[in-house]
Symmetry: C2
Subunit: 389 residues, 2 copies
């Protein structure tokens, strides 16, 4: 097991001050942090940007010049293994390279912060792990008192991390903002601007209570039960099971093995749709019921044969297939024939949209399917998925 | 089937102008929109806020006074049924009451916008459907050209909607901002501020490409396969299945029927954790393997007996249970005894944390479990879940 990370609440020798008063500078490197943009740092940033193949100042970027504020920390590469931190995380691989940190702080689950940061990082794929500019995110959820909040922000300052936060309590949000400002930490309030815009739009003030705070009972809503039912339905109808009740599904996915039917079904079920998935296997008859249901709810999945073969080889290896089983599953001839077999079925059912999943993440394929699903319901092509809150 | 919604791309008689030039006023109610904050509107907003039991100007709200800018549309309650729009949506119930609209526009899947808006709406539970101030959200995903973008923003202006957007292409984001400004539509760029903060932190410009744009191949990453494997493992180990391979799970959930084990397992699996769940049924022995695995990965779930009975009654009804089966499942005595049976098992295994799920959404319970899971790995109490990008 690991030594405790430096931010550990038990181990940290910090008397965190109360939120609004007495914000002291964190101990580490106060001088370095006072450097704002020395010519050397600018050169360093530019060199780094050039190494990663991207110009720093993109003309027209969001209509504003991107103002870079390199801080002291940028000159120092933080080596986590040295800190004994994240050096041994089974889930996410061995952390040895230097990395920039992003602290995500939430008074709730933190999933909004995580989701938003992950989406924003999608804009930096050209310079993340593969290109030598890795980023470590650290999620701190359920942070509901000022003391914990300050301890985390202090640690962020030490580590040269940036801080993004979602804090429903306005005084907590303000404390985070002020502490980050004082300590020169770049920070972003993720939900504040949307919440304020919505407040203005509705003419109602936000409650200031984090989701899950006592007195909230939204968990047992109709929506909640609908989602649970959808997940349970989808699990029961995975991989061609229970073909007799296909008609009860909202969405039916059909495709050859390893087109991602299962994870896609599950993803959709969590959004409240009952999904069944039916495998297409060369030489095996599809269930009759698939052709008896409303064809508007059936979606075919297809994939590039070379990519499919790669995926199947990995699958065969992980399942320990050998000899004949392996070859008939992942050999190129077989892969092509099976895809052709699927193609013929799809062309005999022209109402089924056929979705190319090659290179798409599960979420992306799900977005395409739901767009089509809702468009068909409303007989429109403009993608619109509506919900009532 | 429905008549086409007014924003439908095919039906809309709009010659959308190109993004950067010639932004014309939308046809509907240009005069009303020029009203900025008439005394009448202010009174109306205040009255509405008072009706919903909340003061409009909360002192200290995020350190700034909440500036209300009621627009013309606020005086007119939009009746969707009148527009033939959403009036018949099977998934989300019949939309008859008046509602405010939020348009979510994305060049990608739109899930980030949806997630953020849903989280922000968590701050307005006190005035949504139940309290007579419903909100309709409309998600427009895959909006990758300026023409579609302008058609949507124009429609938002007509409908008196606010617009939130995630657009990776800086010129699209700028167009959205300018168009909303010109037409007096409140708008929020969800990812822009975080993306800019990250750019500044890393010293690298964002790519400006939406996720899923061609040339991106992140879908076939190790992370992707890990997630698929976790989902498949979790489905196979639902509801006590395959107890012989419990040791392969990262997380094992144990609890009586209807404590939400299945949807919770699935939710965690989508985050890349292999989860098995084991039902506790009075008088039935738990699988031996549950007591042979590392107890640090087992989590007990418990729930308030009254809430559990309510959930079970609904379940028994939906499954069509009758007579004895129904009573032994959802009668209060039985419910209490079974929870007591579970409690005894938990107390015999003191290393298992017992999590109270009453009133918690799946995501909230998941956050608690992952916090404990990661804390135990790192022998810390400060909740931190780290990832590398």
């Amino acid at each position: 097991m690991l030594a405790c990370s430096t931010v550990c609440h038990r181990c940290l020798q910090v008397k965190a001050t109360s939120a609004d008063t007495n914000l002291s500078e964190p101990e580490a490197e106060p001088k370095a942090r006072k450097l704002k943009a020395s010519p050397q740092l600018k050169r360093w940033s530019r060199a780094r940007a050039l190494r990663s193949g991207h110009r720093l100042e993109r003309p027209g970027h969001r209509g504003e010049a991107l103002e870079l504020k390199p801080r002291g920390q940028q000159t120092k590469e933080v080596d986590y293994s040295e800190h004994g931190q994240e050096g041994n995380d089974d889930d996410y691989g061995v952390y040895v390279a230097t990395a920039k940190s992003i602290y995500m702080v939430s008074d709730g689950t933190g999933w909004t912060a995580e989701h938003s940061v992950s989406a924003a990082l999608g804009q930096f794929d050209h310079c993340l792990v593969d290109r030598g500019c890795p980023v470590n995110t650290h999620l701190f959820s359920g942070i509901d008192d000022a003391e914990k909040l300050m301890a985390i922000i202090k640690q962020a300052a030490k580590e040269g991390a940036m801080v993004v936060y979602t804090l429903a309590d306005p005084s907590m949000a303000e404390s985070a903002k002020q502490a980050c400002k004082l300590w020169g930490i770049p920070s972003t309030d993720i939900l504040g601007p949307i919440t304020e815009a919505i407040a203005s739009h509705l003419g109602v003030s936000p409650s200031g209570l984090p989701r899950g705070a006592s007195g909230r009972s939204s968990a047992l809503s109709e929506e909640y039960f609908r989602r649970i039912e959808a997940v349970e339905f989808t699990i029961k109808h995975d991989d061609g099971a229970l073909p007799q009740s296909l008609h009860k599904a909202n969405i039916i996915l059909a495709g050859v093995s390893r087109t991602g039917k299962t994870p896609l079904s599950i993803y959709l079920s969590q959004k409240g749709y009952k999904v069944a998935n039916v495998p297409i296997v060369m030489g095996v008859d599809l269930p009759k019921t698939l052709f008896e249901v409303d064809p508007e709810k059936v979606f075919g999945l297809t994939i590039n044969p070379i990519v499919l073969q790669t995926i199947r080889k990995a699958r065969a290896k992980s399942l320990g297939f050998s000899g004949e089983a392996r070859s008939s599953y992942s050999e190129m001839d077989y892969v092509r024939q099976e895809l052709e077999f699927a193609r013929r079925i799809f062309s005999q059912n022209p109402v089924w949209p056929v979705i190319e999943v090659t290179g798409k993440a599960i979420e992306e394929t799900a977005a395409v399917i739901l767009r089509l699903y809702h468009d068909r319901k409303h007989k429109c092509t403009m993608p619109r998925i509506s919900k009532r809150y």
